[in-house]
Structures are given as structure tokens and as C-alpha cells.
């Protein structure tokens, strides 16, 4: 079964969570040993940021890996979740939920992101499939997704304005370890991110849908010959995309307590960078890449000042795409990538 890289990868992937956990612990301890709490605090916040980047990067890498489609609506889905949650809470539509209004708002936000993602599928892939028989070989979905980016972003601007808004979460509990202060929302979001991504890996590796997705990634025509109902499986990619972007948006909102119509832009570009670092189309590559970019961002702000991130990250991306297109870590992609 070596023709399916995803399957060949499955044994190695089992040990990956342990490796990542070990690396994180080592980094934090190393940070405390070398630079004391200042560095350790940057490492911790870098990892929290990295968890957000990693979830969005997984969304990007999933659509490219399975459908050969660079989906530019992902940053907007991320933003939609936060803004819808804020809009519903601020206008009192969720007053019945009482103290849990913030959670209901975020759940509604994630739902909207999933629905929006399905809308994109309806007007790009399903339509293309009906008209041309195949959508994975064209630049058309990419251009359409740019159109949807404009639609969603400006609908939010129209209805909720362009200001940055405060999204209050009612708990402030902190945990103190080794003199580090870690917020409970941050810790919970980190754990939730790991669960979501691990769940996705499980779906791709061990379920019937996962096998169908990997078959489509190899070749949509062969997949339908083998009995995969491509028209019913492709929407699942978009549901997963909406879910991942939505959850990342919700976690970002809880962690930083701020929402704005432009909150997805920076996260989106950083997630693309993370995906390229880890290797396009590879789930574990996106996870490692996300953590690396998050760490690189907080540490380079600490040492070199704010604007240096852009050159470092994108310079690295440019070099990697040109010299080592399969990414720094060379993890196997979901499909062959059709490039």
C-alpha cells in the first residue's frame, strides 16, 4: 500500500504527539534555564499563538492536499466566527443563555463558518463538477474564493462596522507553574486544538470517509471509478475546513478577547507560511510549522522588534518553496498534490 502515502505514514504519526509534547516541555525548560522567565513567557505565548496558526494551517493544507485548491476564504471563516459571536452577544440575541451567552455565541459563530464554507463549495466545486466534470485542475476555484473573501469581509463590515471590539469571557483563572502565569482559556484552547487536529488525523487515517478523501487526493477520476461518491465526499472537506477555521477563530477570540473584521488577515498569512514550512498537503507538517511560526513570531518580536517577522517568515517560505518544496520536515502529503 505504498501508493497511499497517508497510510504509509500512519505508523510514524502515532509517535508524533509524544515527540511534540517532549519538544514543548524541553523548549519551556530551556527557556527558563537560559533566559529566565522573560524567555519562558515568550515561549509559552508563542506556543499558544502557534496552536491557532496550526489549526488554520491544517485547514489550508487539507483543501490543497485533497482538492489541489488554495482556499482564500479560510481567513474570512476565521474572522466570521469571532464577529458573529460578538454581534450576537452585543445585540442581546443570546440573553436567554445567561452567563453562557459567550459560549452560545461562539458555537453560533462556528456554525456560520461551516455554512459559509459549504456555500463556497456549492458555487465553486459542485458547479465546476457539473459543468466541466472536474474542478481540481483549474485556477477557477481559487479566483472564486477571492470573490467570496470580498463578499464575506464586506458583509461583516456593512453589518458590524470596521472597529475592533471587545469580547469578554467571564473567567480569569490563572495557573502558576515554575513562576509562569498561564491563563486557563489559553491552556484549554491549546488542549482543544490538539484534540481537534488529532481527531482529524484519526478521521483521515482510520475511517471510511478518510479513505475516500485520500483516494480523491490521489485522483478524483479513479476515486469515482472505485465507487467513491465524489459529489458527497467533497463537501466534507469544506465542512472540516469551516470547522477548523471556526474553532481557531473561537479560540483566538477567547484568548485575546478582541474581534475585528480584519482579524483573519494576519493569522491567514501566517498559517500559509506555517503550511509551507511543514510541507504543503501534510497534516503533521502544518502542525509543526504552526508551532514554529508562533514561536518565531514571539521570539523575534522579543529580540528584533515588531516588523522583522514578515521578512524572516516570508523569506524562509520563499527559500523553502524554491529549494525544498516538500517542506522542512518532509512529512508525506495527504495525496500526491498533483503539482
Amino acid at each position: 500500500m505504498n501508493t497511499l502515502p497517508g497510510l504509509a505514514r500512519s505508523r510514524a504519526a502515532l509517535s508524533a504527539p509524544a515527540v511534540i509534547a517532549a519538544v514543548i516541555v524541553i523548549l519551556v525548560l530551556l527557556g527558563i534555564a537560559i533566559g529566565g522567565q522573560v524567555i519562558a513567557r515568550q515561549v509559552v505565548s508563542g506556543l499558544m499563538l502557534g496552536a491557532i496558526y496550526m489549526t488554520v494551517a491544517v485547514a489550508f493544507t487539507l483543501t490543497i492536499g485533497v482538492l489541489n485548491f488554495l482556499n482564500f476564504t479560510i481567513p474570512t471563516l476565521f474572522m466570521l466566527t469571532g464577529m458573529v459571536a460578538w454581534g450576537l452577544v452585543a445585540r442581546g440575541y443570546l440573553a436567554f443563555a445567561g452567563g453562557w451567552a459567550w459560549l452560545a455565541g461562539l458555537a453560533a459563530g462556528v456554525t456560520v463558518a461551516v455554512v459559509a464554507s459549504l456555500l463556497v463549495e456549492r458555487f465553486t466545486f459542485r458547479y465546476m463538477k457539473m459543468k466541466h466534470g472536474d474542478a481540481t485542475e483549474h485556477a477557477i476555484p481559487l479566483v472564486s474564493s477571492l470573490g467570496f473573501l470580498l463578499i464575506f469581509e464586506n458583509l461583516v463590515l456593512m453589518t458590524m462596522g470596521s472597529d475592533s471590539q471587545r469580547f469578554a469571557v467571564p473567567f480569569k483563572a490563572d495557573i502558576h507553574i515554575f513562576g509562569l502565569v498561564i491563563g486557563v482559556p489559553q491552556l484549554a484552547s491549546f488542549a482543544l486544538t490538539i484534540i481537534v487536529v488529532a481527531g482529524l488525523t484519526f478521521i483521515l487515517r482510520s475511517t471510511k470517509i478518510g479513505r475516500a478523501l485520500r483516494t480523491i487526493a490521489e485522483n478524483p477520476d479513479t476515486a469515482s471509478l472505485l465507487g467513491v461518491d465524489v459529489g458527497r465526499v467533497v463537501p466534507i472537506v469544506f465542512i472540516l475546513t469551516g470547522l477548523l477555521s471556526g474553532v481557531a477563530g473561537a479560540l483566538f477570540t477567547v484568548n485575546y478577547g478582541d474581534v475585528s473584521p480584519f482579524m483573519g488577515d494576519n493569522v491567514g498569512t501566517k498559517a500559509i507560511a506555517a503550511m509551507v514550512l511543514g510541507g504543503i498537503g501534510s497534516i503533521w507538517g502544518a502542525i509543526i510549522g504552526g508551532l514554529v511560526v508562533g514561536l518565531a513570531e514571539t521570539l523575534s518580536i522579543q529580540f528584533f522588534g515588531g516588523d522583522s517577522v514578515q521578512i524572516t517568515v516570508w523569506g524562509l517560505v520563499l527559500i523553502i518553496i524554491i529549494l525544498r518544496p516538500k517542506g522542512l520536515f518532509g512529512a508525506a502529503p495527504i495525496g500526491k498534490g498533483k503539482m
Binding site: 479566483v143 467570496f148 470580498l150 458583509l155 504543503i280 522583522s308 514578515q310 516570508w314
Partner: protein, 289 residues
């Protein structure tokens, strides 16, 4: 002429030159999502040469154009190692690196931007746009243009027919870089101010849409695309953000109904030359392919 009209006309001409810069590479089958980077090179090149080095506009604009062409030539070798989504991302990364570099360079004013005192008037910009348009039409009629088209349509067949793929692609990137650089230089002198934040990824996305919506098959495409994209938001100005929603819907619909862009070779074949200058039948009365 009112200030509003002349400003709109200037930005239309600059967008048109910019779109032809992206079109030349797209016509050869390469998607360049780093257009803003090349435009920034032209804009900052002429800004530095005229404001800091004190050179006349007649020298600084051609020099900035040449610098952008040279960088297009140099970057084409590594970028052309990539294909498809990878090339989109490589050129996107190039644009981000250029913007990040300019933002960090004290010589170019950093985040404060640069004031460009030497002003050029609208007629010069219109003449430049006309020259670039005619040049592109001429280019597409030459052997090089034919080779570019063949690469876009079927690369393997082009190789079999003896097209030197690498040479054609490098030439397309160099010419494209020059056009983008020229549009940036004109922008700098017309608006008297450049800042790195203007040359962002959204600008690269917009100009790529000009070309893909207009149609990358013929040189008419960017012309129609720039007109559509520059004038439609102006016509829809009443609605604020709503016009961009309409705009986004237009893009999605366009991709569904005319995925090869508004102007296709097929469309041109169906129209007589006289109707062609009307530019009207493109909107949907033409039969679909």
C-alpha cells in the same frame, strides 16, 4: 477636467499598465501573485532616484522600470522551478518579502513612507498606458507571443514543437516585471507619496483578478478587466462596503459563467472588427463556448 475624473483616469491607466505586467506572465501560463512587490520596486526605485539622488523624472522612471525588469529576470530563475499552487505561493512570498524589506529600510523611509516631490501630469500617464497596451498587442502577435500562448495552452505540445520553454518564461517574467515597475513609478510620481503598506497582498490579488476576470487569452482581457474593476467600484460608490459585496458576487458569477474571462479568443472570433470596438457584446449576449 475635474480633479475626481483625472484622478480616476490616472488610477485606471496605472492599473492597466500593472495588469499588463501580470498578463504577460499569465499569457505564458504562469500565475504571479507578487505583483505588488514588482510595483513597489518601481515606485520606490523612482522615489529614491528622484527624491534622494536628485535625478530628473525622465531618467528616474526608465531606470526604475529597468530595475524592476532586472529583478523580474533574476527572480524568474528560482520561481520557475515551481509550478501550480507552489508558484502562486512563491510569488506571493516574494511580494511579502519586498514589502517587509521596504518597511524595515530607513533609506526608504520605513513605515513613514517617502515623499516624491517631482510630479508628472495625466497626459504622460495616458501616453504610457497607450504605449504599453500597443506594445503588448504587438508582443502577442510576434513569435515570442505565439510561443507564450502555446505554453499556456499545452506545455508538452509546445516542447515537442521546439519552443524553448525556459527562455520564453524568463522573457515573460522580465517584461512583466518591467510593466509592473513602470506602473509603480508612475503611481509614485502622480500621487507624490509612496508607503510600503500600500503595496500589500490585497493589491496583488486585485491585479491578478483584473487579468483573470478580463481574460488571459488575448491582450484585450486586461483592458476589459481593468476597466471593469476600476470603473465598477466607482459606479457603485453609493453603497460603501455594499459595492465590494456586489463586486465579489460579480467575480463568483463570472467564474461560473465565463471561467476563461470576459474576453476569450472564441468571443473575438465571433465578433466582427467593427463590433469589437463597441466592447459591449462581451457582457453576456455572446453564445457560450
Amino acid at each position: 477636467m475635474s480633479g475626481y475624473l483625472s484622478a480616476t483616469l490616472a488610477i485606471l491607466c496605472i492599473n492597466l499598465i500593472f495588469a499588463y505586467g501580470i498578463f504577460v506572465t499569465a499569457a505564458a501560463g504562469q500565475i504571479n501573485l507578487g505583483g505588488a512587490g514588482f510595483q513597489a520596486i518601481g515606485a520606490y526605485g523612482t522615489a529614491w532616484l528622484s527624491a534622494s539622488a536628485g535625478l530628473p523624472v525622465s531618467f528616474s522612471i526608465p531606470a526604475a522600470t529597468l530595475i524592476a525588469a532586472l529583478i523580474g529576470f533574476l527572480i524568474s530563475f528560482p520561481v520557475l522551478r515551481t509550478r501550480g499552487v507552489y508558484m502562486v505561493l512563491a510569488t506571493f512570498a516574494f511580494g511579502e518579502v519586498v514589502a517587509g524589506f521596504l518597511l524595515r529600510s530607513p533609506v526608504f523611509g520605513g513605515a513613514m513612507g517617502m515623499v516624491v516631490p517631482a510630479h508628472i501630469e495625466l497626459p504622460a500617464i495616458i501616453v504610457s498606458a497607450v504605449v504599453v497596451t500597443l506594445l503588448t498587442f504587438y508582443l502577442m502577435a510576434t513569435r515570442l507571443g505565439l510561443a507564450m500562448r502555446s505554453l499556456n495552452d499545452d506545455e508538452e505540445a509546445a516542447i515537442v514543437m521546439g519552443v524553448n520553454v525556459r527562455a520564453v518564461q524568463v522573457a515573460a517574467f522580465t517584461i512583466g516585471g518591467a510593466f509592473c515597475g513602470l506602473s509603480g513609478a508612475l503611481y509614485a510620481h502622480n500621487f507624490a507619496f509612496v508607503e510600503a503598506q500600500y503595496f500589500n497582498s490585497l493589491l496583488s490579488i486585485y491585479v491578478l483578478l483584473f487579468v483573470l476576470i478580463g481574460g488571459a487569452q488575448t491582450a484585450w482581457g486586461p483592458l476589459v478587466g481593468s476597466l471593469f474593476f476600476t470603473l465598477l467600484p466607482e459606479l457603485l460608490r453609493i453603497g460603501g462596503s455594499a459595492r465590494y459585496v456586489v463586486f465579489g458576487v460579480a467575480i463568483v458569477l463570472m467564474m461560473m459563467l465565463r471561467p476563461e474571462g470576459i474576453v476569450t479568443r472564441d468571443l473575438l472570433r465571433r465578433l466582427s472588427p467593427r463590433q469589437l470596438f463597441n466592447r459591449r457584446p462581451a457582457s453576456g449576449s455572446a453564445p457560450r463556448d
